[in-house]
């Protein structure tokens, strides 16, 4: 659409083109450097044994088995709490409030602020509320609940988006048929909004699995296999942090753990784009 022919490109035009291309090249080069470095150093250490065995010698040897289990448990707690809360809130915001209602506006505003809260502040809050006040201590439960607070805004926003793309005709037809709004919601709107919910879920998992600062003071450092949700468990990102900062000679295993984390995120990222492409495009429910 732009005039790209430029019959007589002046000095500024040529300078600008150079700048734009070099900016893009610089960003691409940095990205390749970062990813290449981690793949290069990490790939050789990844094996089935690395993924399943417990760490030995503070993580310098052994694997990341219990750490993966803790990470999954933290994620499970996080989603188990965040999904019902998030879906409920999204339904209320999208279906049961008008844009101008005070309650809706306040909720939305507070979620906006929540999405900007720095992760370390979530950590402080989780430590003060879940660990101390509720007495859960340093545990997987505390960590998961803290993360749930953190991913809630992302989850709500994209689920709400999902509900908003359901055509109004659905609601009007259901109302005309005399269906209760509960029935409409459960059998008509919810299935149609599932894609949005899934995208939100995937984004939320991505944010939760990448989180470190909020977990250090809530789920803790213990790298043993967790026996219950009240045990402290070390998440993968905390493991990378600990290996690189506190354990001399832990770099090679930190590389490998970082690669595992990046693989997980790439898989999640791929899932998001696949979902948006293949599922969001066909929204009409065939019930």
């Amino acid at each position: 659409m732009l005039n790209t022919l430029e019959p007589h490109p002046g000095g500024w035009e040529r300078l600008a083109t150079t700048f734009v291309w070099s900016a893009a090249a610089l960003v691409t080069a940095t990205f390749c450097w970062l990813l290449g470095d981690i793949i290069w150093h990490g790939l050789s250490h990844i094996s089935w044994a690395f993924l399943t065995t417990p760490p030995r010698n503070a993580g310098r040897e052994g694997g990341i088995g219990p750490i993966l289990v803790s990470t999954l448990l933290i994620l499970g707690v996080c989603l188990g709490v965040a999904v019902p809360l998030g879906v409920g809130t999204a339904v209320l915001l999208a279906e049961f409030t008008t844009d101008t209602s005070l309650f809706g506006r306040l909720t939305r505003r507070s979620l906006d602020v929540l999405s900007g809260v720095p992760s370390i502040v979530f950590g402080l809050f989780g430590n003060a509320f879940f660990c101390k006040t509720l007495g859960l201590g340093f545990s997987i439960l505390s960590g998961g609940l803290t993360l749930a607070c953190m991913v809630l805004p992302i989850l709500i926003r994209s689920t709400e988006e999902g509900f908003r793309t359901v055509p109004t005709g659905y609601r009007l037809s259901a109302a005309a048929l005399g269906l209760s709004r509960t029935t409409t919601l459960l059998y008509l709107l919810l299935p149609a909004a599932v894609p949005g919910l899934l995208v939100g879920l995937v984004l939320g998992v991505g944010r939760a699995i990448a989180e470190t600062a909020a977990l250090i003071f809530t789920s803790g450092y213990v790298d043993r296999m967790p026996q219950s949700l009240l045990d402290s468990g070390r998440a993968l990102s905390v493991h990378i942090f600990d290996l690189s900062m506190n354990v001399s000679g832990g770099d090679s295993h930190a590389y490998a753990s970082a690669l595992v984390l990046i693989f997980a995120l790439l898989a999640i990222n791929g899932a998001t784009s696949w979902l948006t492409k293949h599922w969001l495009s066909r929204r009409i429910v065939t019930v």
């Binding site: 940095t30 809130t89 049961f96 909720t107 809260v117 402080l124 609601r171």
Partner: protein, 292 residues
């Protein structure tokens, strides 16, 4: 529309139950922020009472064991690192978006956008780790000691660039096409169109992206903790190690007790205040959608 507040026409008791259930979940979700502020204030209260706000700025140093609680070096650290990163990341991010939209061939543009999205998803601890093992030794070779404000700025730049670039990309994409056609019809070349038409029209989106990026830079903890050296001092040069507010919390929370712990919660409150101000600003800017 069916989405009215109190649909008194609804005969179904389940509907009323559902509504209250949903209101319950929304009330919980909405009150988390209040809960966070409440608990920060509650835990910060001892420090505010026993130390007082003024001493966080006037004490001779930050030595909690000796009851000195001067937060200014950390504030400077956060400020310098954030400003540096925003100054570098803003042009790079906006030029990246311009590249995607107007300079790159469509296939390359898509690929580049994908790359930026991937960059946005990489965890901060991985950035920090890379900075620690690659960047810090590199900077150390040029000008010891290595862990420095500069390393922090570089890592933060890489981290907030995707935020700025993706927001800018979205706002460039939403410019009415007739603006561009008009510019092309006037015979404006590419950069002149971008500078004279595109940037003014996309102003609010670009600003929002920068503000969101700033918020991310202020709140970033792990990466900055890993590369900045964490010495409590107001930096004199780019190569001096610094400690930011967030890093200070992460470093000392593990063993902090009493007033010391409360002082850390005060710095958490400072952070919340900065973020709230930024969210407010972003909200203002995105609401006044002025097309020049």
């Amino acid at each position: 529309m069916t989405s009215s507040d109190n649909n008194i026409l609804s005969r179904w008791p389940t509907d009323r139950l559902l509504l209250w259930l949903l209101r319950g979940t929304a009330a919980i979700a909405g009150s988390i922020v209040l809960l966070i502020v409440l608990f920060l204030v509650l835990d910060a209260l001892p420090a505010l009472q026993h130390i007082g706000i003024a001493r966080f700025f006037t004490d001779p140093s930050w030595h909690p064991a000796e009851h000195f609680y001067n937060l200014t070096p950390m504030l400077w650290g956060t400020l310098f690192a954030t400003i540096g990163a925003v100054l570098v990341a803003t042009p790079l991010g906006i030029l990246s978006a311009v590249f995607c939209q107007y300079y790159a061939p469509p296939a390359l543009g898509r690929l580049y956008r994908k790359l930026i999205e991937l960059l946005a998803g990489i965890p901060s601890v991985v950035y920090g780790f890379w900075g620690l093992v690659v960047l810090v030794p590199l900077i150390g070779a040029i000008h010891p000691p290595g862990p420095s404000l500069l390393a922090g700025i570089v890592i933060l730049t890489i981290m907030i660039l995707p935020t700025i670039a993706l927001m800018a990309d979205a706002s460039l994409a939403s410019i009415p096409p007739q603006y561009l056609r008009g510019a092309a019809a006037l015979g404006l070349p590419r950069w002149a169109t971008i500078r004279g038409v595109v940037f003014p029209a996309a102003k609010s989106g670009l600003f929002t992206g920068v503000i969101l990026g700033t918020g991310r830079a202020i709140g970033e903890t792990m990466a900055i903790l890993m590369v900045c050296g964490n010495v409590v001092q107001a930096p004199q040069s780019l190569f001096d190690p610094v400690r930011t507010l967030t890093a200070n919390i992460a470093l000392e929370m593990a063993y902090a007790l009493g007033n010391h712990r409360a002082a850390l919660f005060v710095s958490g409150l400072f952070l919340m205040g900065m973020i709230a101000a930024l969210v407010g600003a972003a909200d203002r800017i995105s609401r006044e959608k002025i097309y020049a």
